[in-house]
Symmetry: C2
DNA sequence: TCTGTGGGTGTAATATAATTACATAACGTC
DNA sequence: GACGTTATGTAATTATATTACACCCACAGA
């Protein structure tokens, strides 16, 4: 259901091309993330996965690990939350190590940029393997909130 | 004790100038962070605060909140850890909203840069109020590790 | 001096986030 | 059919952080 269908189909293709198996659980978690359109807590995903009965933590954390490893989702570190990757599926998500997140604290939406440059003022000789870049503030629609 | 004395004296002056009260608990937590020279977990601080007996969580979290609010320490979001601010105390730490951390995953040391620029490719109209910028990798001494 | 008031701390309980360990299932390979 | 690999189910536990309430103390005004 929802307008997430298109995105999910693209994810399906993305996984098929790379030998990644987007199983029902993983696909369902991704769908929940896409539908939310913003940061979602792992325990909220758990509740949504099995309304009445409720899934166990490992179920959702394993799915989230798969999705983040594959580049289909990102963890929002400062919120302990997760969000679907919003970037255009036409480019390779595995080269995906430099992501900037712009999180509106008012309407809870996330904008995302994938950048390809290294930090300008790293210490001499420091070799970056992973980066966490999150900006919090207000989006254009929420400046007046 | 330790080579942290100099830094702590500077923190003392810094607080005095601004009407911030660096109480014994807060000072002790800062000292532990400075001595560690890298990311420290809140529960490790708790254990160190009262060896035998152990302090309660609010004690250390309140101290950490004070230190981070004041700019004397930073939270390392992706590690759920905390680190003393390493920047030169001569400049104002309250204008301290843009900090870059370079964390060596090998030797566990942190380098820090305070930058004064905004992100170049923020969404149109997005107003940043807080940023989290963390780079993980290997420092110059650990490239071979 | 009395009396608030506000900031800081002590303590217990609770909430939130994530991992470990072990059993089971599904699938392809030999 | 036996086996290795990958994914899932389930229970228990660990790790991280907050809430609520009591107490203390320095300080300001009456
Ligand atoms: Zn992305
Ligand atoms: Zn907004
Ligand atoms: Zn700093
Ligand atoms: Zn190193």
């Amino acid at each position: 259901m929802s307008n997430a269908t298109h995105t999910l189909d693209a994810a399906e293709r993305y996984c098929a091309e790379r030998g990644l198996s987007l199983t029902p659980v993983r696909r369902r978690v991704l769908e929940l993330l896409v539908d939310a359109g913003g940061p979602v807590k792992a325990y909220d995903l758990m509740a949504a996965l099995k309304p009445g009965g409720s899934a166990q933590p490992p179920t959702v954390y394993r799915a989230l690990n798969f999705l983040t490893r594959s580049g289909l989702a990102h963890k929002v570190e400062a919120l302990n939350a997760y969000t679907a990757c919003l970037c255009d599926y036409s480019h390779d998500k595995s080269g995906h190590d430099t992501v900037q997140l712009f999180i509106c604290e008012c309407c809870d939406t996330i904008n995302e940029r994938h950048i390809h440059k290294s930090p300008t003022d790293a210490p001499e000789g420091f070799r970056v393997s992973r980066s966490v870049i999150e900006y919090y503030g207000r989006c254009a629609r929420c400046v007046a909130c």
